[in-house]
Structures are given as structure tokens and as C-alpha cells.
Amino acid sequence: MISRPQRILFWTLLFSSVLMSVVLLRMRERALDRLLASGETMPLNPPPGTPVQNVTMMMANDMDGSLQPGYQNLALPVDANARAHVILQHLILNYARPNSKHPIAANKGVNEIFFINLPLEANQVLPGTMAVVDLSGSFVEAHPSGIEPETLTLLSIIATLHANFPQISQVRFLVDGQQRDTLAGHADLTRVYLASDSPGVKHL
């Protein structure tokens, strides 16, 4: 026979457990929302006093199909992957500004960038580094469709990466971590793009 105080204790503990579970779930949701919100406002503002570096942005122009170098002072992280991420985020933010010559709706542009040292296999003679750029699905959905705008976006990303990381010889694009046929119906995303004409590098 269970005594009455023990029953009260049991039900109190059970109620407390359920209540704590609900509170924890709610706190987790809030933390996730905060994380996503911070991700959308990337790049994060640098801490005060951080030294800035001069960065080259290869800006596309739809009217004449050209890429023109532009220069911007940015506070960059130490890690190369994070640095490339910040640079590309600023590049895409520039395209979202009013009066942009290559307008792309403002959105989260790049999920992640990571570098792979080449050659991947012993029998390959491809020197340098491959940059894998994981574009966000929302950026791709918002991108204007057409051979020229799509090609210029890819070339702008490739040329900006190569200007700031000369060791990059090849660039590969993913969308939300997956391979995709085209950027917005035209430019091929299945192939590896060359970032330089260094000897030994073959067009794939």
C-alpha cells in the first residue's frame, strides 16, 4: 500500500518533469531561431579594433558582360574557409544593393566554403587548391534566369576567390550540399570550373 504523501510526491515529480521538458523544448526552439537569425545576417560585424584587410571583389556588369575589380576593406577571420565565406557574403551583398549592375535579390548567398588540396589522387597532375562553394537554395531560387546573369555570377565568384586566394585553381559548386544541374536553368553547375590557367591544369 502506497502512502498518501508518497503519491503526492510522485505526482509532483511527474508534473515537474513534464513542465521542465516543455520549458526545455521551448528554449531550444528559441535558441534555434536566434541561430538562424544570426546566420541570415552573416557576415557578423567584427569586434571593435579588429584590423581590416583590403579585399578584391570582381564585380559583374550585366550591360556589357564584364567583370571589373573593386576594392573593399573588411575585417576577416583567420581561418581561410571562414575568410572566403565572409568575402563571398560581401560580394553577394554588393549585388543586392540598389543600383547594382548585376542585381540579385538579397538573401543568404553561401552556406559554406571549404578548400581541398589537389591532387586528389596520386595519378592526377592538377596542382593548387579546389574551392567547393556551397550556395544556399534561397539564393539560387532568387537568382535571375539567363545565360548571361548566371555565367557572370559564377565567374564573379570564381574570379573573386582567385583574386584573394591565388592558390585556388578549381572551383566546384553545390546547392545546399547537393549537386545541381544548373544555377537557374542555364549555367552548368555539374562541372568543375577552372580559376586559373596554371600549367598542368586541364579544362574538365
Binding site: 550585366d62 558582360g65 534566369s145 539567363g146 548571361e148 537557374a184 552548368d188 579544362h203
Partner: protein, 261 residues
């Protein structure tokens, strides 16, 4: 079984006798006639020997005897609508209409045209390249449209130039025609500039362009932005100018093509 035996007999006859007969006949036929003769015609009587004076090569270059074929590829179709050019105009519809008009103009000038898409259906890129490559075309024009930029964008394939061989890698077959494609692009560029239409030239990675085994150019139309005045893609007069200018460029290409060895 009878069918198989007859087929075997025909095949044996064809394999043994046809090369002999064809070789004897072809050796005495003019070059232009040889190109139209099937490689093996089992069971057929060879044509009578042609007199020696008929074996001299024709005065005109060899290309003059070949048929000048143009492939027009209207991009997208079906569920793939391409770019949304306005609230009522999709890229797939515009390029299909332009394809039909360009075909009419070229046909009126006696140019044989093959189109990859005749209606609003989804045609896989592979099938488009197959159609173009089977046509053995002298020019392949892939039509596109966009709202970005101004005038006409001419794109050739960005695949690296490769030597012409009998068998080409499918994904980069256009590499064997890179030089000819640039010349065709230059021809269209000249015609557009003559018609005072702004042109942007470039290279891109684009399917099925990369798999075409013919001189190939992607012609992308965009609104005409001149001196602050914007002419929309839906403007019939602007479309007519584009069609007429492209047709003129292809006619000029035909004349140049006939002069090539």
C-alpha cells in the same frame, strides 16, 4: 528460320561481294557522287563504269555539293519554362515563336532547317544534342532570352578546344568545333552590330551546347536598352529585327561555309 537464313545469305553476299562491287564502282565515281552512295548495298547491281574523263574533280569546292543544314534549338519547354520575361511572357514561349519565324525566313531563302522543338513539350538536353548531331549541321543556333543586360548575348561553349576525331567525348564534343563556333559567333556579331543591336560576347558551360558537333552559338535575347529607352522583348518589331539579322548572318555564314575546304 527461313527469314534468318535469307538474312544470313544476304549478309554473306553483302559482306563478301558488296565491298568488291562498291570499291570497283566508287573508284570510278566522282567525289560528290561517292558521298551520296551508301557504303554497302547488298544485292544491288553496281552502276556501269563511268568514263575516265568523268573522274576529274569538280571545279567547285567539295562543300558546294553538300547540303547546308541549320539546327535551331528553342531552349526549355514543358515544365521548364526558363526565365519569366514578364507577367505574360515566358522564355520557352518566346524562343519557340522566334524559332518558328527564323525557320520560315531561312526556308524561304532555300536553307534546310532542323528544329529541336516544335511545340511546348519537354525535350531532354540529350535528345536535342542527338537531333543536332544527326543533322550534320553547318550551324547550330540555340535560342534563349533573359531580362538582364541589353541587346543580344552571344555565347560559345567554354569547353577546351580538342582535335577533331571520329569519336568525340559526348560532354565536350563541342571542343572540336570551338574555332568554327567562334567564327559563327563573329558572323552574327557583325550582323547585329550592323543592325545597331548591342552585342555581348562570352563563353559559358551550357547543355546541350557543349555536346553539339557543329559550329554552335547560343543567342540570348534581352531587352534593348538604348539611350535610356527600353524596348521590351515582347515588342514585335524588335523581334523581327533579331530574326532578320540572325537570318542574314546565317546566309553570310552559308556563303563563307561553301568557300571552306
Amino acid at each position: 528460320m527461313r527469314w534468318i537464313e535469307e538474312r544470313c545469305r544476304d549478309l554473306t553476299f553483302g559482306l563478301i561481294l558488296a565491298p568488291l562491287l562498291a570499291g570497283a564502282a566508287n573508284a570510278q565515281m566522282p567525289a560528290n557522287a561517292q558521298s551520296n552512295t551508301p557504303s554497302s548495298t547488298p544485292g544491288k547491281v553496281p552502276p556501269p563504269p563511268v568514263p575516265a574523263e568523268m573522274t576529274t574533280p569538280p571545279a567547285t569546292p567539295p562543300r558546294a555539293a553538300a547540303r547546308f543544314v541549320v539546327v535551331i534549338d528553342a531552349a526549355h519547354g514543358g515544365a521548364d519554362s526558363g526565365a519569366r520575361l514578364s507577367n505574360h511572357l515566358l522564355e520557352k514561349d518566346l524562343v519557340l515563336a522566334l524559332s518558328v519565324r527564323l525557320r520560315s525566313v531561312l526556308s524561304a531563302h532555300g536553307i534546310y532547317v532542323v528544329t529541336t522543338r516544335e511545340s511546348d513539350g519537354a525535350i531532354p538536353e540529350l535528345n536535342r544534342a542527338e537531333t543536332a548531331n544527326h543533322a550534320a549541321a553547318a550551324a547550330c543556333i540555340s535560342l534563349h532570352a533573359t531580362t538582364s543586360g541589353s541587346g543580344v548575348h552571344l555565347f560559345t561553349s567554354s569547353v577546351t578546344q580538342i582535335p577533331m576525331t571520329r569519336f568525340l567525348p559526348w560532354e565536350t564534343a563541342q571542343g572540336a568545333y570551338a574555332e568554327q563556333s567562334l567564327r559563327l559567333s563573329s558572323e552574327i556579331d557583325s550582323a547585329m552590330r550592323h543592325a545597331e543591336i548591342p552585342v555581348t560576347l562570352g563563353r559559358t558551360a551550357l547543355e546541350p551546347l557543349d555536346s553539339f558537333t557543329c559550329p554552335a552559338v547560343a543567342v540570348e535575347l534581352s531587352p534593348l536598352n538604348k539611350a535610356g529607352k527600353v524596348t521590351a522583348l515582347s515588342d514585335p518589331e524588335y523581334q523581327d529585327r533579331i530574326v532578320a539579322t540572325t537570318a542574314a548572318a546565317i546566309e553570310q555564314w552559308q556563303r563563307d561555309w561553301r568557300q571552306q575546304p
